[in-house]
Symmetry: C2
Subunit: 203 residues, 2 copies
């Protein structure tokens, strides 16, 4: 009955809704996240679900933000705070590929990849959030490349944004190979492609 307990429970319910929405979205897309289905899955009423967000769009934004959090936890956050440079960049790519191969918490594949094609043609806050998340990750990758150049491990004339573009392409191809083709060699191909990209840029 205390407001504190009530608020904590509400927060927990909200978190459950968001995580369930994130999982549904990975399979059915962010548009496939319907309030009725969430309510049925969680044993709640539709109004109970919607009350936490106010609109479907707000729910989609929350689910996508949770997918970004999940990506950060499984990729950059797993890389030890080692000195920046080529080794850390390699580890980052390795964690990325591992996440794409087997993210135990997202059955339908990387939501950043699928939301990009789902929303790229539809203006609005969701599209903006997806574009910004992708943009920021590409910037992180380019910054890592710069560190490796500064450390003398990659050639002085390396185009950091080009490397980020190419690594991102490898990731999107890996996601497709895993999810659509169910290609067991996807991870191996991905690691080989990353090695070749970084080798070509080596000092």
């Amino acid at each position: 009955m205390s407001p504190r307990r009530s608020a904590a429970e509400s927060k927990e319910t909200r978190a459950q809704i968001i995580d369930r929405a994130r999982v549904i979205a990975s399979v059915a897309g962010l548009d496939g996240v319907t309030i009725g289905r969430l309510a049925a899955d969680l044993g709640m009423s539709k109004a109970g679900v919607l009350g936490h967000f106010g609109s479907k769009e707000a729910l989609q934004l929350a689910a996508f933000a949770a997918a970004v959090d999940n990506f950060v936890r499984q990729v950059p956050a797993t890389v030890p705070a080692a000195p920046p440079g080529l080794d850390r960049l390699r580890r980052l790519c390795g964690a990325w590929i591992h996440y794409l191969e087997s993210d135990g918490t997202t059955p339908g594949g990387c939501l950043l990849a699928s939301a990009a094609t789902e929303f790229d043609g539809r203006p609005g806050p969701v599209r903006d959030a997806v574009a910004e998340a992708t943009r920021r990750w590409l910037d992180v990758l380019a910054a890592e490349v710069h560190h490796a150049v500064d450390a003398g491990e990659l050639a002085r004339d390396t185009d950091a944004e080009q490397i980020a573009f190419e690594l991102n392409g490898v990731a999107l191809g890996t996601n497709q190979a895993v999810q659509l083709q169910r290609d067991p060699a996807a991870g191996t191909r991905a690691r080989r492609a990353v090695d070749r990209i970084l080798a070509a840029a080596s000092a």
Copy 2:
């Protein structure tokens, strides 16, 4: 009133429905192709639209097949029947990138790319069609690589499937850069990436 004219008109109507569905799908996804919207766009009744296909799934399959036809017309079919080898492979990749940069007939980007993430987690005939189309295109690319190896233009130990995987990744990254990031440098980056992949495999 002649049956012949009627049948021809019906075929034409059907073609119009399919092409409209293909365009809608490029923006809203294959699931975003609704019978009611098609009917409104084309000034027809819903039953008139549905009668040509029998079910929404059949309509989605027809729209996707039209997208594959469009891809073939804009990419492999634009490459002259030159002798197989590295030059033809380069031209093929150039046409592919050009199609991704500016397909005038598909406002929302390549449907092969978007349908892959839309349906990769949903079993059924549409998923099967998407997976097969992608598989076949990767096979075409690998075959072109083999030709270039046979011609002595690429190294004997070139892994043709690996090259196809990497080229496909470049294409998916290009599609994302064009459609989501609206990056005007996407085409340039894509051509540079392709050049590097083929240069690394050169004999």
